[in-house]
């Protein structure tokens, strides 16, 4: 039995090492597949979520500089005249994602993070270019990241595969209006088709590493 137990514990230690607990997303999103193998940045970025019901949510990823959160919400508060209290603004750090129009922001931030999860958020309006509120969020995030961190902000778009294209288009136009033209789409990895051009290129690169 001893070798058997040895192997079992070896497997156990492997899984303990390999497991990474990822923070729970505010909403469940099934991302589409792609052949891309690039690693997702997890810091110094903003994540724009698109749920399967075409609701847009906004969430800055700045674990190392929590000051970014304060700057964003302060900027939004003054520019949009929302009249948030300091306590509500401090709560923004703990908010998993904002998915309400500016009119509902005060109510959202007055709730505790647990209650926010239970709240059904209607999404940030993006479809109409005149009321595209995501433009403001991106603008604030851009200036906040530019002040506090040396590196540039990455933009992650995590969309549900079943969300409709116009919502994505609205997100992209909000980004474009802030002169942001490079994005990372969050996807689930997929195998590269063997007989495709990319498959051939990969194999050639592996066969002759000296060339590259």
């Amino acid at each position: 039995m001893t070798p058997f137990v040895d192997i079992a514990f070896l497997i156990l230690s492997f899984f303990i090492m390999a497991t990474k607990f990822k923070p729970q997303d505010p909403v469940e999103i099934t991302t589409p597949n792609s052949v891309s193998s690039e690693i997702l940045p997890t810091d110094n970025a903003i994540m724009i979520l698109i749920t399967k019901d075409n609701q847009v949510m906004f969430s800055p990823l700045a674990e190392k500089d929590p000051g970014v959160f304060d700057q964003i919400i302060q900027g939004i508060n003054t520019k949009r005249n929302l009249g948030l209290t300091p306590a509500e603004m401090a709560n923004f750090r703990k908010t998993p994602a904002v998915g309400v129009p500016f009119t509902g922001l005060k109510q959202l931030l007055s709730l505790s993070p647990e209650d926010q999860k239970a709240l059904k958020q209607p999404g940030i309006p993006v479809l109409d270019s005149a009321t595209n509120e995501l433009v403001w969020w991106i603008n604030e995030a851009k200036s906040a990241f530019a002040q506090t961190s040396a590196r540039t902000m990455k933009i992650l778009i995590k969309g549900d595969g079943n969300s409709k294209f116009p919502t994505f288009d609205g997100v992209v136009s909000a980004l474009k209006r802030n002169d942001e033209l490079k994005y990372n789409l969050v996807t689930t990895p997929e195998d590269i088709p063997v007989n495709s051009e990319l498959g051939k290129m990969k194999r050639e690169a592996e066969a002759s590493p000296a060339k590259k």
Partner: protein
Amino acid sequence: MASLDTGDSGGHKKGPGVKKAKKLSTRVDMTPMVDLGFLLITFFIFTATMNEPTAMDLNMPKDTDKEDEQTKTKQSGALTVMLGKDNKVFYYEGELTNENASQIFQQTTFKGIRDEIIKKKNAVIAAYRTDPACEEKARKEGKKVSDCKQQDFFVVIKPTEDATYKNAVDILDEMTINDVKRYALMKISPTELDLVKASGGTSK
């Protein structure tokens, strides 16, 4: 060591009446530990996320009205792909006019579009005549000279309002899979939308 038996002098000696110290077994019952081990294995197997999410790059062109900043493309090398509802894909090659619409406008699926892309790409490569300026530039920038062969190939992606985000990602992925260097996401024109509608590609 060689020694004489001197009776009870040593003390280690076991003799009659000296109790043999009971040798304790070093073996422990491992069953509970192994049980726990397997329990943990199952737990970690179930929670393990082997598929780490990946990032797919998307670069959009800047919206511009200035003529000289716009990307120029040859009509002969263009392939326009439109995405409709229920994963329907429509495509045409070259330029769409009122006369040729019925002939060149076609419908396919996400499986079929790959062959069309490859077919069009090969046609463009076959029609390629050596362009020294492009090859020189590629050599200078350390890019592949063979990419010049497909310099006229341009895929225009036009999703309708009924296309899903997955459709858009799939078609962008198709560009990576087939090594298409030049492609763009664009708004669909009214003429194209009418054709898609006529083929049952929209819900309206």
